[in-house]
Symmetry: D2
Subunit: 383 residues, 4 copies
């Protein structure tokens, strides 16, 4: 396997699987590019991890995982960051033999909508058949821990990243201000800030759950108060690195910025956002069809991204399948332990990957700026 790192100057590297192999197993993230002098605590990170914790509420899988994090590296004796890379580990708890045994029985069985088939091709019989391995939703624990660090740094500068459920099975939340969304999006299980609509969504999901089925939806993510000029003009546009970050989350089937796919029906005169000068002398825009981007770089408006989330592939309905080892067709029995929708948990993963991509973009923009300007500070450094 390759590609277990993301980011250039703010960089997360992760490892770990969903099921432990005895004592001490877990998921970890090494975070490079952390400033010295920050009081990032385990409590802060835990709060983020708890947002994606299974076993809570009616929309989540009944699986038990405490997901308790430990910062094992990068903080000094006074528990303040030293500038060294942070090491964060989350130990596995659910290592019950009964579940492992179930997985073992099905280890060569193709599971529709899952990564088992490519895993089998790539890693052969040694593929991690237990709990989907690195393609498990549990892999995202390490992303959220890394994302929490990114969020902490962004918050210091007044930049906020939130993601909430915009749509579920055709039920669409009304448009709301950033402040309203922020205030309300954590108040129901499905993370929809339009509380009335959220109630309908939850009802719908529970109906579908009753059928043994699962539900898809759309997450909208907002980056609030980002400065303009972030992103590189060619291959590493901020929009492109955000797309990379977000589409690397399992179950994501699309991403759009601002007006998104609606631009297919818009004229240039409708789509162009007209700029104006604020009373404070800043450039802002009358509309935000661009979703906060010009030429793929931030333009000072909120970044608005919508993400298509497929219904959980694990369903409680019998499916046709294949034994990949003997290449015989085989029925896959209904599976009962599952999330009826991913919306209630994936939002924090979207927040995390957005935060990582945005902070990394900010770092790159500042790097270029600092590295290419001759100012007093650098002249002074030369003592």
């Amino acid at each position: 396997m390759l590609g277990n790192s993301f980011g250039r100057l703010f960089r997360v590297t992760t490892c770990g699987e969903s099921y432990g192999k005895g004592e001490g197993s877990g998921l970890a993230v090494i975070v490079d590019g952390v400033p010295a002098g920050l009081k990032i605590t385990e409590e802060y990170i835990q709060k983020e991890l708890d947002k994606r914790k299974p076993g809570v509420g009616k929309l989540n899988s009944p699986r038990l995982e405490t997901d308790k994090c430990t910062i094992f590296a990068g903080i000094g004796q006074d528990r303040i960051t030293t500038g060294a890379p942070l090491g964060i580990i989350i130990y596995n708890v659910d290592t019950q033999d009964v579940h492992i045994q179930q997985y073992r029985e099905y280890k060569d069985i193709f599971r529709p909508g899952h990564a088992t088939y490519p895993f089998f091709l790539k890693y052969g019989e040694f593929q991690d058949w237990c709990g989907a391995g690195r393609s498990s939703g549990r892999e995202t624990v390490a992303r959220v821990a890394g994302g929490a660090v990114a969020k902490f740094i962004l918050e210091r500068e007044g930049i906020e990243v939130i993601a909430y459920t915009k749509e579920c099975m055709g039920i669409i939340a009304k448009d709301m201000s950033f402040e309203e969304i922020k205030k309300n999006y954590m108040r129901n299980e499905i993370n929809c800030p339009d509380l009335e609509t959220g109630e309908k969504m939850e009802k719908k999901v529970l109906e579908i759950k009753e059928e043994g089925d699962t539900a898809g939806g759309i997450i909208e993510a907002i980056v609030h108060n980002i400065p303009p000029g972030i992103g590189e003009p060619v291959f590493d546009k901020l929009s492109a690195t955000i797309a990379h970050a977000v589409c690397s989350i399992g179950a994501v089937k699309g991403i759009e910025f601002g007006a998104g796919f609606n631009v297919a029906r818009m004229k240039g005169s409708e789509n162009n956002d007209q700029p104006y000068i604020t009373k404070e002398g800043k450039i802002r825009f009358k509309t935000n069809n661009a979703g906060g981007f010009l030429g793929g770089m931030s333009d000072g408006e909120d970044i608005i991204v919508r993400v298509a989330v497929k219904p959980t592939p694990t369903i409680s309905i019998e499916q046709t399948s294949i034994n990949m080892k003997n290449m015989k067709e085989k029925k896959l029995k209904p599976i009962t332990r599952r999330d009826p929708t991913l919306l209630a948990r994936i939002y924090v993963v979207v927040e995390s990957m957005m935060a990582i991509a945005v902070l990394d973009g900010i770092y790159m923009a500042r790097a270029y700026d600092a590295m290419t300007k001759l100012d007093e500070k650098w002249l002074n450094l030369k003592k």
Copy 2:
């Protein structure tokens, strides 16, 4: 500026702007990861470059550029690749002072929908104000030259990448087989293989052009005959690197895979593609809602991607604007030299970026496979 390279093992690095600064100026791409022994000719690359050439037909900007390419490095005395990186240069031709003078007059003016504002913030008064610099559509010439190399290598293995116009201003092409699309998509100016619908699209675009306005649309791209198992399971899923590649093209406002945003209204039992075994003993799927991906890795079905393309921001209608230097509002006069839609040219850039991302993914998958297996071949190498 940073981020002028894309790819890990198959890697393009580009430079160059839309307007020349005297004799010898141009755009170039250095392509690393080229096999030895290939007969990649300038003619082959030229054919791809001609697909995006302006000044041809009624849907294109009247700007004159011959875009003639020269391979200046990487081929041996017998004009066969040596394994060394290819160097390809395309000289600038349109260096008429009259156009440069026009740009100079507007150099501090914010152009709605363009990258001028972030450029001004990042590079100050030294920003390349002439013809949009690295954010010009002309920057894609180097991508297409690099993409041509990728396509050449993919074709050797029977893998094809095509992109065509699926939708324009609400007019939607009917569903067609890969073979039909391939046969027809180059037969009209708007690159729509559904020829009847293409005619309607062209008519619509010309009407909009008459208004001084521009039109948006949707490009669909297909990767045909790709082997399963390509892509890394975590951050570098093939879907994620394709999203990065495609969203790095200016004017792209969204990407979706297979059923894409429709998954928001689908149940798991509807969305999961059911596998079966072909007569030849291979695994295939009854549907392709996944767009060719499982866990972000290829599953052997065609990769299907749809890309939202915004209407050309340059319009022949007066717009409000700002002089960024003195921060005063200013009217921007109508601009006459422009593409009424980007659809007729951007498709080949989408093909190119898809080809680069896919080939790079194939290289990574093979690299992992080769590097981790002890076979006869490597043992023999140890002589």
Copy 3:
């Protein structure tokens, strides 16, 4: 801090410091590019870690660290690698307040020969003043754990990497065959396979230790049985990436290949290694002045590298110093807990970094080979 990863396809990312911050702190390495199906055990890695363990013997610091490793990720239920990145953690044990308190007293004091001054400039008062942080010798624990994985994979293919003491304070080991070196280099504390000379070296070091001083020396490293053709021809020559890897070890002040600095006094006719054909029909060389490299790529002879190791900077003699906070000169008291020479421990770090660089180079060579050749195997994959 940046740059906590090394390698391209075989890639280690590390974190962790020498002193713990309470329960659970430690050093970790995430290893990417691990084949599936290997039985890499904690015992195997432990054996390597034990080679650099302090507190053993008269040439080592009396500091107590058990350096026990745990593989917490990347192995399946049957304790065989799955292809996922390995996660290895080594918990800190020596977290006694008495030592931490000592470091706190000296936290703003410049320690000659140590990294404290640049750390202070880079991370300010938040720098990790306790036990030298990421610039501590203890940082190499994670390198050795990662290097153990590389060695395991290399051994599978019959490639061996060893490093031993060639010279110490003017006392030079005689030339010996690879087999003799391998048999004897672990038989004394200073890791010199010429046992008689090793005895003299140890005696010399103990004399210097008595003076409160420390001793420098030269480590020679050999890569045995490496196939020819490894390394990229331009910036990533194998010799260059080995130089990067080895010079990234603290205390290393130089590296040379084969005849090394002696080439300054050699003519071309003396230095050129003449090739011949073996009975088995392979190309070998009559001499190995090149140290196993042609054009920076391996040529099939053993790779021979010599590494200059400075005397431990921590000495038991009073030194002038500076309080960096108030910029006043200050005497630094003799420090008693130290290694009288680094030679007895650093050799395994050299082995580790060599193994990582060599394996990564082999991976890259195979990657290029696999990715650029159309063979049966890949054609079959396209089912």
Copy 4:
């Protein structure tokens, strides 16, 4: 081939070979990380290229190459950098069929001391047999063009990089101050600032040339006026990235820093450089055994590096060799067109690679600093 880029934030990517394939062939470099607003001219770059030009003087190969450079991208209409990557091309001139024909005859012949054997293994019969391809000394033209850009930026900040001949065939230049070296090192053909000794070196080289042989030597490089704190503490120590950069130059067989291999005979109390405070209140050192590094990071003293350069492998003496295609031994005839020593040309390549590595290190240090500090400037950017 892979690995044709060097650097992280200041990054050069090169292509091109020693022999042209008809009109328009050449060597090029794309330089990423260039500040906007610089007046880097072709004349400035040309001056550096001329330092390595063959065909000048008695110590150089008689080969004719004008090495005239063209900046084809990255500068604006006013010939000032725009922040976009620079593209620099140097066209091939010596494309005479007579030389190509000579190379063709010998294309399968192993040339002792050259890269032909690994090239044959890696690229097979398609390897660039003409003029050594990417392993030719001519490949360094592109490095020098990229290095010129790095030097230009460093000079702006008062940082100078020079490299000169310290030793040749046992004849050693006396120690001199930076100012004296700078004043004199370009005043003789062998680039030795100790003019009297330089005369002896040149005489020695000419004697050896008469024998049909070639001479090795040592280049010393100095980075003057570099600020302290440059380099990352772990894998990307400045010393390590300089080692990578310099050892990637063909013919380099070793590198040492400051006291270098002499540390093998030094005690800690001798080797440690003692710090003091200057009248201006800065930290400096009484000695510079460390060669300007503490913990691999710059300490404010001049960086001192010595580089072992092997004698030119091409000699005018018959050598044994092998036809790699039919694996038969074969005599290699004396070759007359060659450099009797590389010292007279390689120094500028060392300067270039040092400049690139140092500037890239400075960029990384500033990047980390800028990206991790909350200052007024960034708060103001958020308008």
